[in-house]
Symmetry: C2
């Protein structure tokens, strides 16, 4: 992979098949329809079963197909647009926040998070876990890192565990004045625990949205949200419902 | 893949190795350093060569490693933050636009694009190709779809081919009043032509940013930009330079 002589690298066979299959899905199948079995598909497209399976796996990874036990392989619905709006900076947990608090713990964050929050390398911070559903399905999990100086009065509160504790951290955070925020989106691969929560296999591609919340001249909180990449399209701006589902030629054009 | 019994699915061996390797990269290696050969690495971690290769491929896909002919496998620099700001809606090709025009053709767009632009299924539109570099490297390619009604005076212009023609389309577009825009980010896989331009293999994961530009009560133009997912982090908001490079635990947490 990834040599400097890309001109000489032919398109892998399964990838060409994927494109052909994707076009067939668009023109011949409707959402929820069950695909013919692998033997019939391999025969129809004149490929080996192994090649077919690679193409099907790629299409599943891209959210075009769903494989369900006892049902078979079905055509997946279009990706759901999930609003990640940036217009009005707002603390996590504000009135129209789409996230549900799950729990909160005090633990040492990863080194990169500690550096962003300017805490000491071994210092514990509050880690609030939240989840987000769309159309009744879990689409994202979040870890929100909040250092002690951002919630100075929290220790005085008799915070229980679970969602109540998460809400207590968010409530304290919201008492501070928010100066602004920024966001970054990048590709990640699901960790075992996130994968399980999201109903994906470990290593599945995910979209990772990192948000920094600024207050008092520093990063007062940092959120790392992991979205399913197969079913989600992250939307920004005035019209959250971008209803464009890329076809085979649009998908990466 | 993707059964309903995820609890019973163990973490694949290569994926565990990937995590271990990623930690080793953080703690023992610096950017640009050449990794030991596969035989030595496999021996050190007590895994089969095939498992090691899968883990290395995954790390390359995620932009942690680079493989170069005649050099070997090296530790990749952190992902580059590429600003995809949304604050001020602006036409493509405006003064501080980071994109370079490549050429423009008239061609029939994919069905999903035609639907968004409300053109007839077989109607050609102007397709402007642009590219974007960051730190001297090509990081993204764009196809900008512009229907005739959005550039009514264009046919009167003696537009040559290549970048000049692309600039002519953009100039005409900028004469219209822009009502607003929205954006969506999703996972895609590189088509053969984009892959070649971006120095990736076909099917490599890419981040696809779709932007709709609204004018006169309709979608006046639609941009589909394809960013390398291994080296790019898309940034939104006030501070383009989010300098957080996720470590092994952060990457998808």
């Amino acid at each position: 992979m990834g040599t400097t002589q890309l001109e000489s690298v032919p398109e892998p066979k399964y990838w060409h098949l994927k494109t052909v299959l994707s076009e067939a899905l668009d023109s011949e199948f409707s959402v929820g329809e069950i695909l013919p079995n692998e033997r019939d598909l391999a025969a129809r497209f004149g490929v080996a079963r192994a090649t077919l399976r690679q193409a099907l796996e790629q299409l599943e990874l891209e959210g075009r197909l769903q494989r369900r036990r006892g049902v078979g392989t079905t055509v997946a619905p279009p990706r759901v647009g999930v609003d990640v709006g940036t217009e009005q900076p707002d603390w996590p947990g504000s009135a129209d926040d789409a996230w549900q608090p799950v729990d909160a713990v005090r633990s040492v964050p990863p080194a990169a998070v500690a550096a962003a929050l300017e805490t000491g390398a071994g210092d514990p911070v509050h880690i609030v876990r939240r989840s987000r559903t769309s159309h009744g399905r879990l689409v994202a999990t979040e870890l929100l890192y909040v250092p002690d100086p951002s919630v100075p009065d929290l220790t005085a509160i008799d915070a229980p565990s679970g969602p109540a504790r998460a809400r207590a951290v968010l409530r304290e955070l919201q008492r501070r004045e928010l100066d602004g925020q920024d966001r970054a989106v990048e590709l990640g691969s699901a960790r075992a625990d996130d994968a399980k929560d999201l109903g994906r296999l470990p290593g599945s591609p995910v979209l990772v949205v990192t948000t920094r919340f600024f207050a008092g001249g520093r990063t007062a909180a940092l959120s790392v949200a992991t979205y399913r990449a197969d079913t989600c399209r992250l939307t920004f701006g005035d019209s959250p419902g971008v209803e464009i589902h890329p076809g085979p030629e649009r998908r990466a054009s």
